[in-house]
Symmetry: C2
Subunit: 440 residues, 2 copies
C-alpha cells in the first residue's frame, strides 16, 4: 500500500526520471516556459507590488546572494523565490496548462533558479527540475480539476507548492522517500483563494507556494516526515479541499504522458478566455477601419464561462484584464493588446467604446470561443467568430513569437544576450552567469 | 456591506479594543496561557525536531536578534516564530479551546513575543495582542466547527494564521482597514491537514501558521490588499474549506463574549479525551494498590470519540499520547502521567498492562467521560467513572497548578525567576529582559 501512495509514486518519478529519457519536445518546452516566465517577471520588475515585497522581506533574508529578476537588490533563496514568483505571475501573462488553468512555471521556476544559483548548479539541472516539478504540479491539479477551482481554490497556488517542492527535491538530490516526504509536507502548506484573486493577497499566495515548496524540501532533507496518504487519504489534501482525487490522472503513464507538453503561452496579457474576443476585434478593425468614433455598438457572444469571468459593470486597473468590454475596446481602438493597453484604462476613446460593448450568452460555443459584431455610424456591420485563439490548442506560439513577447516585456540592450543565454541554458555548466544577466 | 465583512468587524476589534476595557479574568487568562505555552516549549527545547528546524532556518534568517525558547541560538522574527510555535505545540500539551479543540496560544504567542522582542515593546502590549489574536482565532474556528476538522483540516493551523495575523497587526499598530487586509491575506495562506497529524508535517503546518500570520500583517502594513469577503465570501476561506461560516459565532458579542476565557490547560501531555481514563486509573491505583503484576484486566468504556481516537493495536512514541491502552497503563503502573511517562513506551511493565486493556463503547457517555474497571489476580475488582477530567469545564487548573506544570516541564534554577517574571509581565516596560530569561 505504501509503495503505491501518490507521494511515493510521484516522489520516485521526481527522484529517478532522467533528463536523457525525456522526449526532446518536452525538454524544449522547459526552455520555452522559462523564456516566457522570465520575460513576464522582468516586465513588471519595478511594479509597486514587487518593491513592497522586497522591502518587507529584506529584514528577514539571510545572506543576500540570489538574483531578484530585473532588480539590483538581492535576497536569500526563500526571499528571491517569493518575489520572483509574484513577478512572473503578476499580470497572469505567464503560461497556462489548459485542462486545469494552472500557470505552471511561476511557482516552480523561481525557487528552482534561486536554489541553483545559490549552489552554482548547471543549467540542465534547472530545466530538468523545472519540468519534473511542473509535471507533478499539473498532474495533482488535473486529479482534482475542475471542482477544486469551482470550490474557491486558486489552483496555481494550491498545486504550485507541490511543483516547487518536487523541483527543489530534485535539485537537492533527495531520494524517493525524502521527495515523497517533501510532497507530503507540501500538502499541509497548500493554500490560495479565488475570492482573493482580484487583490494582491493573490500574489502573496503565489509567492508563498514557491517559498513553502522550498521549505518542504529542505525540511524533508533534514528528516521531517509526512503521512503516506497526505494527498489522497481520507483526511488528506484532496478530500479536505473537496474531492476524491482521480489517481489515474495524477499518477498514470508517468514519463509517457506529459501534461507539461500541453503548456500554452499567452500573446495578450489578459485572461485567456478573452483572447478570442481580442482576435475577433483586431480582425474587425482591419476589415472596418480604425476610426473608433465610427463605432455604434459592439456585441460579444460567448459561453457561460466568458460571461461569468468577464461581464463586469465597473473597472479598475486590476480587473481590466478580465473585462469583456476592455478586451474588446483595446482591440478595436488601439489595434494592439499589450501590457500598456491594459494598464492605461483611462484612455477616453477606449473608455467610450467600453460603454457600448454588450455581452450575450451563446451556450453552444466551446470554451474560449467568441463572436463579435461591430456596427458603424454609416450602417456597415461585420461579425467575426474565433473558436481557438492564438496560443490555444493547435495554435501554439512559435519560438520566434515567444522571443518577440520577451522583447516586448523586457526591451533593451540586454534582450539579445538574455534570449541567447536562455536557448543555451542546457549547456551552461553554472547557472550563475545566466542569472546575473537577469538582474536589473 | 463592506463595513460588515468579517475581516472589517474583526479588524476593528483588533485595532481598537482597549486593554483596560478587557475584563480582569480575561487579561489574567493571557498570562496563564502564556505560562503554560512557555513551559511546554521549554520542555522540548532540545527535541530533534526543534534542532532540525533551527538548522534548516538559520541560513534563511535575517539578523538573529530574537530568542529561541530554551536555546542558545537566536533567529530573526520569522524564524523564531516558526520554531517557537512548533515547540509550544510539539507534544499537544498546550492549551485547548474546548468547543473547537484549537490550541490557541501556540501559533499566536511566539510571533507576538518575537515581534515585541525585536521592537522592545512592553509586556502589556504582548498580553493584549495575544488575547486579541487568540480571540479572533477561536471565533473563526467556532464559525466553521466541527465540520472543518471532520473534513480533514487541522483547525489549530488553519485558524492559527488568523490569530497570528491579528496579534501582529495589533503590535504593529495597524488601522482597522490594514488589520482587515492582514486577516484577508491570512485567509489565502491558511492550511494544515489532519491526515498529517501523526507526523512532523503537522509541526511544519503549525510553524507556518505563525510565520504566515506575521507575513500577512507585514505585507498589509506595506499596502497589500485582500478581498472584503476573503473569509465568508462565495469563493472565500470558509466555503472553500467546506462550509458556510456561522457569522454570529464569528463576530457576535465581540468584547462581551470571550471565547478565550474558556481556554483550558492539560494536566497530562496526552490527548484531552484520554484524561478521564488517566484519572480513573490513578484513583483505582490508590484504591487497589500499586502492584501492576496483580492486574488481570483493564476494561475502558467511553463514547465513540474516545474509541475513534484511541483504540489502536500498535504503538509508536508518536501515538502513545493518543492510545487508550497506554494512557490507562501509565496511570495504573507508574501512578504519574507526565512527559516521560509518554516517552518511555518500552517500559516492560507498562507494555504488559497495555496488552490487557480493552475498550468498549458506552454510547450514552458525554464527550470526555470514561469508566475504567480493573480486575486483580486475587479476585478483587473496582470501577471508577470520571465525567469531567481535571482541566476540563468547571475544573480548571489553578494558577499554582499551572506553576507546578511549568516547573515539571522546565525544571531548574531559572524556574522561579521565569514564573515571577511571567506574572509581572503586564508591568514590564520592555519585553526583552523577560525573553532573555526564556533563552537556553
Amino acid at each position: 500500500m505504501s509503495a503505491s501512495s501518490a507521494t511515493t509514486i510521484l516522489g520516485r518519478f521526481v527522484a529517478e526520471w532522467a533528463w536523457e529519457a525525456t522526449p526532446a519536445p518536452v525538454r524544449h518546452e522547459a526552455k520555452r516556459s522559462l523564456l516566457n516566465a522570465l520575460g513576464c517577471a522582468l516586465g513588471v520588475a519595478n511594479d509597486p507590488a514587487i518593491s513592497a515585497a522586497i522591502r518587507v522581506l529584506t529584514p528577514f533574508s539571510g545572506p543576500r546572494h540570489v538574483t531578484v529578476l530585473g532588480r539590483a537588490e538581492r535576497l536569500d533563496v526563500m526571499g528571491a523565490a517569493f518575489v520572483n514568483t509574484i513577478a512572473a505571475n503578476l499580470l497572469d501573462y505567464d503560461d497556462t496548462h489548459p485542462p486545469t488553468v494552472i500557470h505552471p512555471t511561476a511557482p516552480v521556476a523561481p525557487p528552482t533558479l534561486a536554489l541553483a544559483e545559490q549552489q552554482g548548479l548547471p543549467g540542465q539541472a534547472v530545466l530538468h527540475a523545472l519540468l519534473l516539478g511542473a509535471e507533478v504540479e499539473c498532474r495533482i491539479g488535473l486529479a482534482v480539476s475542475s471542482g477544486h477551482y469551482a470550490r474557491g481554490w486558486h489552483i496555481t497556488s494550491t498545486c504550485g507548492v507541490f511543483g516547487a517542492a518536487a523541483a527543489a527535491s530534485r535539485l537537492l538530490g533527495l531520494s524517493t522517500e525524502r521527495t515523497a516526504a517533501a510532497l507530503g509536507i507540501a500538502a499541509s502548506l497548500s493554500s490560495g483563494l479565488v475570492e482573493n484573486l482580484a487583490t494582491s493577497a493573490k500574489n502573496v499566495g503565489m509567492g508563498n507556494a514557491a517559498r513553502n515548496g522550498l521549505l518542504a524540501a529542505l525540511l524533508a532533507e533534514a528528516g521531517y516526515e509526512a503521512a503516506q496518504a497526505a494527498i489522497e487519504g481520507k483526511l488528506g489534501w484532496a478530500r479536505a479541499m473537496g474531492d476524491a482525487p482521480d489517481m489515474d490522472a495524477m499518477t498514470g503513464e508517468l514519463g509517457s504522458r506529459w501534461e507539461f507538453a500541453t503548456n500554452s503561452y499567452k500573446p495578450y496579457p489578459s485572461g485567456i478566455v478573452f483572447h478570442a474576443v481580442i482576435e475577433a476585434c483586431l480582425a474587425l478593425r482591419d476589415e472596418l477601419g480604425s476610426d473608433p468614433a465610427a463605432i455604434v455598438s459592439v456585441s460579444v457572444r460567448g459561453n457561460q464561462l466568458l460571461l461569468d469571468r468577464g461581464d463586469r459593470p465597473t473597472l479598475t486597473a486590476r480587473d481590466a484584464r478580465v473585462s469583456i468590454a476592455h478586451n474588446a475596446a483595446v482591440g478595436l481602438v488601439r489595434g494592439t493588446a499589450g501590457v500598456a493597453d491594459f494598464a492605461e484604462i483611462d484612455d477616453p476613446v477606449v473608455a467610450r467604446v467600453r460603454t457600448i460593448v454588450s455581452a450575450a450568452l451563446a451556450p453552444d460555443f466551446p470554451p474560449g470561443a467568441a463572436e463579435v459584431t461591430v456596427r458603424l455610424t454609416d450602417g456597415r456591420a461585420a461579425t467575426r467568430r474565433v473558436d481557438v485563439a492564438h496560443g490555444g490548442p493547435g495554435r501554439p506560439l512559435s519560438d520566434h513569437e515567444l522571443e518577440q513577447k520577451f522583447r516586448h516585456n523586457a526591451p533593451g540592450a540586454a534582450a539579445d544576450r538574455r534570449i541567447e543565454a536562455l536557448w543555451a541554458l542546457d549547456t551552461a555548466k553554472d547557472v550563475r552567469p545566466f542569472m546575473a544577466l537577469m538582474a536589473g
